[in-house]
């Protein structure tokens, strides 16, 4: 079986806190499915048994931003939608990562139009730009693996001095 079967007595191993945290973090990335248009269908397909995103520990799609590590922005982001995406991103706890899934999200894609944001990196920090219109589920899994590699290289102190977003309180009278 695994490593622990070969131990004859109480086993232990030494590592660093950074390595242990990064290892556990990268293998349970909980995505926020920000499904806005057709890319969301491929994102859903990546969760089904054929592609099975659970193999990489990311099957827990959270529909609340409070429990997410990774935001998959899947679909065309219009100027009207941009504040919503940003607000949900701001509600996610640090550390957090963003995949810009598909051509529209990365660059505006074929919508060279007055209503579509020409790339969400105008208002979000993006870690992975994922090509395709829409990208296939295996392509999304590849992006997830790359995110995991990126998370694996992080150190705990990288997240010490994160600036919290300025919150605007909207009051109704």
């Amino acid at each position: 079986m695994g490593l622990e079967a070969n131990l004859t007595q109480d086993g232990f191993f030494t590592t660093t806190v950074d390595a242990l945290i990064a290892w556990s973090r990268k293998n349970s990335v909980w995505p926020m499915p920000m499904g806005i248009s057709c890319c969301a269908i491929e994102m859903m397909a990546s969760g089904d048994p054929k592609y099975d995103i659970a193999r990489f520990g990311s099957e827990v799609m959270r529909f609340t931003p409070r429990q997410c590590d990774l935001m998959i922005v899947a679909g065309t982001v219009t100027y009207k939608m941009a504040p919503v995406v940003r607000k949900i991103y701001d509600q996610m706890p640090d550390p957090k990562w963003v995949i810009a899934m598909g051509a529209c999200t990365s660059t505006g894609g074929m919508y060279r139009s007055y209503s579509v944001v020409q790339g969400i990196d105008q208002f979000l920090p993006v870690d992975i730009y994922l090509a395709g219109c829409p990208p296939r589920p295996d392509n999304l899994l590849n992006a997830l693996i790359q995110i995991q590699e990126k998370i694996g290289k992080t150190k705990a102190r990288d997240f010490q001095n994160i600036k919290l977003p300025e919150l605007t309180v909207i009051q109704n009278n």
Partner: protein, 162 residues
């Protein structure tokens, strides 16, 4: 006498002073007339018991850019009773970019007129709630006008801070 002839006869009998241009293209009947008649004609089409155009399926506009009457309002109506679709057209010039609202006739015209106002800047007189439909309220332009650039005007729509 088929329904199209009955329809035209009823309208001309009701409004003898109204000049109607009729086009019948591929079995689609269109009436074009002056915009001052839009409320009386619509009221008549809806309330006449033989016609009963009770569904206002769509209201939109056409921008002809350089023509004398720049905009054409288009109303698509449907009569369940006669299973008949009718199109009304009315020209609006840019110098007087207004037309009477038909919300008093069909309630469903409310949002369709708001959309037309948002996209073309045509004002509807006596509309109860003429706000923008799609674009933000502080947006200054009307995107479906021919002189609006397809890629938009940089900086006209705000984005959240990075």
């Amino acid at each position: 006498m088929d329904f199209k002839e009955i329809l035209l006869k009823k309208i001309t009998d009701q409004f003898p002073e109204l000049k109607i241009d009729t086009t019948d293209f591929r079995d689609e009947l269109t009436f074009s007339f002056d915009k001052s008649f839009i409320i009386p004609v619509c009221t008549f089409l809806k309330s006449n018991p033989d016609l009963e155009f009770i569904l206002c399926a769509d209201i939109t506009a056409i921008d002809w850019a350089e023509r004398k009457n720049r905009f054409t309002l288009v109303y698509n109506l449907y009569s369940f009773k006669n299973n008949f679709r009718l199109r009304l057209k009315s020209n609006v010039d840019e110098s007087d970019c207004t037309i009477d609202s038909v919300t008093s006739v069909w309630k469903s015209a409310n949002w369709q007129e708001r959309e037309t106002y948002d996209m073309y800047g045509i004002k509807f007189n006596t509309h109860p709630d003429l706000r923008r439909m799609y674009m933000p309220e502080e947006f200054e332009y009307h995107p479906l006008k021919k002189d609006f650039p397809l890629t938009g005007i940089p900086g006209s729509l705000p984005l959240p801070k990075k």
